[in-house]
C-alpha cells in the first residue's frame, strides 16, 4: 500500500529527474523546430534531387518507432553522451512531423502575399523571412505547442539509452526501495502538472489566433 515515507524520499529523486526531462524537452524541441523548418524548406526548394531524398528520409523516420531509432543511434553513433544523443534523435524524429506542420502553414499563406512581394521586388530570401514564414508560423503555433507537449510525454523513451530523466529515476528509486507505486505515481503527477497547464495555454493561444 501507499508508503508515505517512501513517497517523501522519492519526491526529490523524481524532481531531479524532472530537470533532465525538461532539459531534454526544451533542447529536443529546439532541434525539432529548426530541423523541421529546414526539412519543410528543402521539400519546397523545387529541386527534385533535394526534395526526393529528403522527403524519403523524413517519411522513413516518421514511420519507424522513436524507440527503435534511439537504440539504433545508440549502437551506430558511439561517443556521444546519452542526453545529447537522445535530444538529437527525439528532435529529428519530431522534425519530420513539424515539417508537415510548417508545410500546412506555408500553404495557408494566401497567394496574394507572394504576389505583393513580387510586385515590390522583394528578394526571395526576404519574402520568406519577412512575409511568408511569420504568417505561416503564426498559423501553426497551436499545432507546434501540441507537439511540444507530446514530445515532453515521450521523453521517458530516453531511459532506454540510460538518460536519467524522470521515469528512469523513478524506476531506479522503485527498485532500490521497492516502492514503485510511490515513485511512479509521483512521476505521473509531475507529468500531469506540467503538461495540463501547457495544453490549456496552447488551447487559449489557439482561440486567440482563431479570429
Amino acid at each position: 500500500m501507499w508508503d508515505m515515507d517512501a513517497a517523501r524520499d522519492a519526491l526529490p529523486v523524481v524532481l531531479s529527474g524532472f530537470g533532465v526531462t525538461l532539459l531534454a524537452t526544451v533542447l529536443g524541441f529546439a532541434v525539432a523546430v529548426v530541423a523541421g523548418l529546414a526539412v519543410a524548406l528543402l521539400l519546397r526548394s523545387g529541386r527534385r534531387w533535394i526534395a526526393l531524398p529528403v522527403g524519403g528520409l523524413a517519411a522513413f523516420v516518421r514511420s519507424t518507432p522513436v524507440m527503435v531509432q534511439l537504440f539504433a543511434a545508440w549502437v551506430l553513433v558511439p561517443g556521444l553522451d546519452p542526453l545529447t544523443l537522445g535530444v538529437l534523435v527525439l528532435g529529428l524524429h519530431y522534425a519530420t512531423y513539424l515539417s508537415e506542420v510548417y508545410r500546412a502553414g506555408i500553404d495557408a499563406v494566401p497567394k496574394g502575399q507572394w504576389e505583393a512581394c513580387t510586385a515590390l521586388s522583394l528578394p526571395r530570401r526576404r519574402t520568406w523571412r519577412a512575409v511568408v514564414l511569420p504568417q505561416a508560423v503564426r498559423k501553426v503555433l497551436p499545432a507546434l505547442g501540441n507537439y511540444a507537449v507530446s514530445m515532453f510525454k515521450e521523453t521517458p523513451f530516453l531511459s532506454v539509452i540510460t538518460v536519467n530523466e524522470m521515469v528512469h529515476e523513478a524506476s531506479a528509486f522503485g527498485s532500490t526501495r521497492f516502492a514503485y507505486l510511490e515513485s511512479f505515481t509521483l512521476a505521473a503527477a509531475v507529468f500531469l502538472l506540467a503538461s495540463w497547464p501547457t495544453s490549456l495555454l496552447v488551447r487559449r493561444l489557439e482561440a486567440r489566433l482563431a479570429h
Binding site: P110, G112, Q113, E115, A116, T118, A119, L120, S121, L122, P123, R126, A130, V131, P134, Q135, R138
Partner: protein, 269 residues
C-alpha cells in the same frame, strides 16, 4: 535601321513605355490573350475596360511578371522585358530573374484584394521594400513612408495594423506602399472592386491626386467609368483577348462604334 543610336541612354529616348508584341497567353487550352499588340507611351494613362475574362487583368499580371507569356514579347522602356537576348545571335529567350529583377523595380502594382502584409504595421508595410530592395536606411525609409501616408490621407494610421482599417484605408495604404518604390509605371488592377460602394470615392480621389501630381505611366483595369474618363488619355475596350476598339474616353464612352462596347457600357449602369 538607325545606326547612330547613342547606346548609353536608350531609355531616355524610348518612345514607348510598354509594348506588347504579338502576346498570347493561354491557361491550358483557354486563350486569354490572342496575339495582342499594344503600345503605351511614357506618362500615358491607359484604362482597359471590357467584360470579365476578356484578358485585361492578365495584361497587368504579365507586366508584373506574375504570369509568363505563352507567345510574343513584352517590351519595357524600349527593350525586351519578358525575354532577353542570348547567345552570339542575340536570339530572344525567356528572361531569367537576373534580367527581370532590375526592370521589375520600375513597375508598381495595386491589387484588387490589397494584399497588405497583415502581420506588419501600416508603416512597416510601406517601409519594407524601400529598405530591403532600394537599400534606404531605416530613418530615411520611414520619413518617406510617412510622407506617402500623408499623401493618401493616413498620416495618423502609421502604427495601426492593416486588419484594423477599413477596406478603403487598406487600399490607400497599398497605394502608398506601391508608390514607395518610386515606380514609373503603376498598374491598377480593379482597385475598387472589393470595396463597399461608399469607400470607392476615397480611393479614387487619392489616385486622381497621384495622376495629377506625377508623370507616372498608368495602366488601369476598372469598372469605374467616371474615374476612367477623368484620368485616362486612352481607353481600350477588350473582348475575348483582343482590343475591340480604342479611343479617348469621350470617343469610347459617348460614341462607341461596336454594339458589344455599347452593351458592355450599358451593363455597368
Amino acid at each position: 535601321m538607325p545606326t547612330d543610336t547613342v547606346p548609353e541612354a536608350p531609355r531616355a529616348r524610348a518612345p514607348e513605355k510598354v509594348r506588347f508584341e504579338g502576346v498570347t497567353k493561354r491557361f491550358g487550352d483557354h486563350t486569354v490573350l490572342d496575339g495582342l499588340d499594344l503600345t503605351v507611351a511614357p506618362g500615358e494613362r491607359v484604362t482597359l475596360i471590357g467584360p470579365s475574362g476578356s484578358g485585361k487583368t492578365t495584361i497587368l499580371r504579365l507586366l508584373m511578371t506574375l504570369e509568363r507569356v505563352t507567345d510574343g514579347v513584352v517590351h519595357l522602356d524600349g527593350e525586351p522585358f519578358s525575354h532577353m537576348p542570348a547567345g552570339p545571335g542575340g536570339k530572344l529567350v525567356p528572361a531569367d530573374e537576373r534580367h527581370l529583377g532590375p526592370r521589375r523595380r520600375r513597375i508598381g502594382m495595386v491589387f484588387q484584394q490589397f494584399n497588405l502584409f497583415p502581420h506588419m504595421s501600416v508603416l512597416a508595410n510601406v517601409v519594407e521594400a524601400p529598405r530591403h530592395v532600394l537599400g534606404l536606411d531605416a530613418d530615411e525609409a520611414a520619413a518617406r513612408a510617412r510622407e506617402l501616408l500623408a499623401l493618401v490621407g493616413l498620416a495618423g494610421k502609421a502604427d495601426a495594423h492593416p486588419t484594423r482599417l477599413s477596406g478603403g484605408q487598406q487600399q490607400r495604404v497599398a497605394i502608398a506602399r506601391a508608390l514607395a518604390m518610386r515606380p514609373d509605371l503603376l498598374l491598377l488592377d480593379e482597385v475598387t472592386s472589393a470595396l463597399d460602394p461608399e469607400l470607392v470615392a476615397e480611393v479614387l480621389d487619392v489616385l486622381r491626386d497621384v495622376a495629377d501630381g506625377t508623370d507616372i505611366t498608368l495602366l488601369c483595369v476598372t469598372h469605374e467609368m467616371g474615374f476612367a474618363r477623368d484620368v485616362s488619355d486612352r481607353l481600350l475596350m477588350f473582348d475575348r483577348g483582343r482590343v475591340l476598339e480604342a479611343g479617348t474616353p469621350d470617343e469610347l464612352l459617348d460614341a462607341p462604334e461596336h454594339e458589344r462596347t455599347r452593351s458592355f457600357l450599358r451593363s455597368l449602369r
